[in-house]
């Protein structure tokens, strides 16, 4: 068995580092364009518990000094608005949103 393992290890060492077809690009679809409603955090009511970030399927909410949403990738599913224990996230229609648009 030891001999076999040694033999196999030697065989593996002779192989090039990357074998076969590999993916080299990272998927980067700007899924924010799918959104028709956007979550807007009311920072006065937010207690920074991080539950929205925990339940965000796209991982776009980041817990920094204030909670921030990456609108380039946010699909607007609205899970954060439902799960927020303080109900501090508004779900605003994109057509009615006034402010700096990221998209």
């Amino acid at each position: 068995m030891q001999e076999l393992v040694k033999q196999r290890t030697k065989m593996l060492e002779t192989l090039p580092k990357i074998v076969g077809p590999v993916s080299v690009k990272v998927s980067d679809v700007h899924t924010g364009v799918w959104r028709y409603r956007r979550p807007v955090i009311r920072h006065d009511d937010c207690i920074r518990c991080g539950i929205c970030a925990e339940y965000c399927p796209c991982g776009v909410i980041e817990k920094a000094e204030v909670m921030t949403v990456d609108y380039t990738y946010c699909k607007g599913c609205g899970i954060c608005t439902v799960e927020c224990p303080k109900k501090a996230i508004d779900f605003v229609l994109e057509s009615e949103f006034e402010g700096e648009g990221d998209q």
Partner: protein, 288 residues
């Protein structure tokens, strides 16, 4: 180069898809030293096509029936190389676990390779348009059962109770911390681990995308989904169902149950009660 996400943000899964949430939470626990594999399913979106991929870790796109066989191979290769700190994670849906992948799963468990199999159960073949699978609940209308499924679903957790798993658990997106705890526990085991996660599918079950987690929470409360774990031959029930009378509410919130009548509702409630009673009796056994 900027720091790479373990799972890219720009994934083209549906709005409110819990499968992506499970993938993200899993990587949060397991970290970058993980090799993952996905069968052709919704999770194949994460592995990507062509030269694109969503994972920031090594990933393999396997065939539908043999994901656990791939996992065994990778696990053994890692053992030969002496890389004991790398986790192998299989990430299959209910089709790749209950129906098509069942024989290779049971084989891989029997051979005892060190790997974690995560089954995200969305109760149909959602990636191909929502055809019925053996995980589909009784009465649910799918593409191939437009008038409602006539058969009760297969209970894979009870089936796998008799296999030599190092760790077995059920989890739900309704309780993501519980899922992370179970996965962290599974990562420490030296053997096959199976985690069965409930993932309500907004487009297939036909409910609004923002209700995903609420539906999963209601399923735990109503007893439609049982949270338990099996470790060292002992079953522990993690969360008891509070009220089986919540099942009609759970059913009415999904449009796939539009066609069921009172008789089928009663049958579903009866089945849920029996399932829980069986589990209670099993949890009192000394070894399994």
């Amino acid at each position: 180069m900027a720091e790479l996400d373990l799972l890219s943000k720009g994934m083209t899964t549906c709005q409110g898809c819990p499968m992506e949430l499970i993938g993200r939470s899993a990587l949060e626990v397991l970290g970058p030293k993980t090799i993952t594999m996905t069968p052709p399913s919704c999770s194949a979106i994460l592995t990507g096509s062509g030269d694109e991929t969503g994972w920031g870790i090594p990933s393999v796109q396997t065939v539908l029936m043999s994901l656990p066989a791939f996992a065994s191979g990778v696990s053994e290769a890692l053992k030969i190389r002496g890389m004991d700190d790398v986790t192998v994670m299989g990430f299959a849906g209910d089709g790749g676990t209950f129906d098509i992948g069942l024989q290779s799963l049971s084989g891989a468990i029997e051979r005892g390779h060190k790997a974690i199999y995560i089954c995200y159960n969305n109760e149909a073949y959602m990636n191909t348009g929502g055809q019925r699978s053996s995980a589909t609940t009784l009465g649910a209308s799918t593409k191939t059962t437009p008038t409602g499924k006539k058969e009760v679903s297969k209970n894979i957790d009870f089936m796998l109770l008799h296999t030599p798993l190092a760790y077995q658990a059920t989890a739900s997106v309704g309780n993501i911390r519980d899922f992370k705890r179970k996965l962290a526990k599974a990562a420490t085991k030296d053997g096959p681990c199976f985690i069965h996660v409930m993932t309500p599918c907004p487009s297939g079950w036909k409910f609004p995308a923002d209700q995903t987690v609420q539906i999963a929470k209601l399923a735990i409360k109503s007893g439609m989904w049982l949270l338990f774990e099996r470790e060292d031959g002992k079953i522990t029930i993690n969360q008891k169902p509070t009220n089986f009378e919540l099942i009609p509410e759970y059913l009415s919130r999904q449009k796939r149950f539009n066609r069921i009548n009172d008789e089928i509702t009663a049958q579903i409630i009866e089945e849920a009660k029996t399932r829980y009673e069986t589990l209670q009796q099993l949890s009192q056994l000394a070894c399994l």
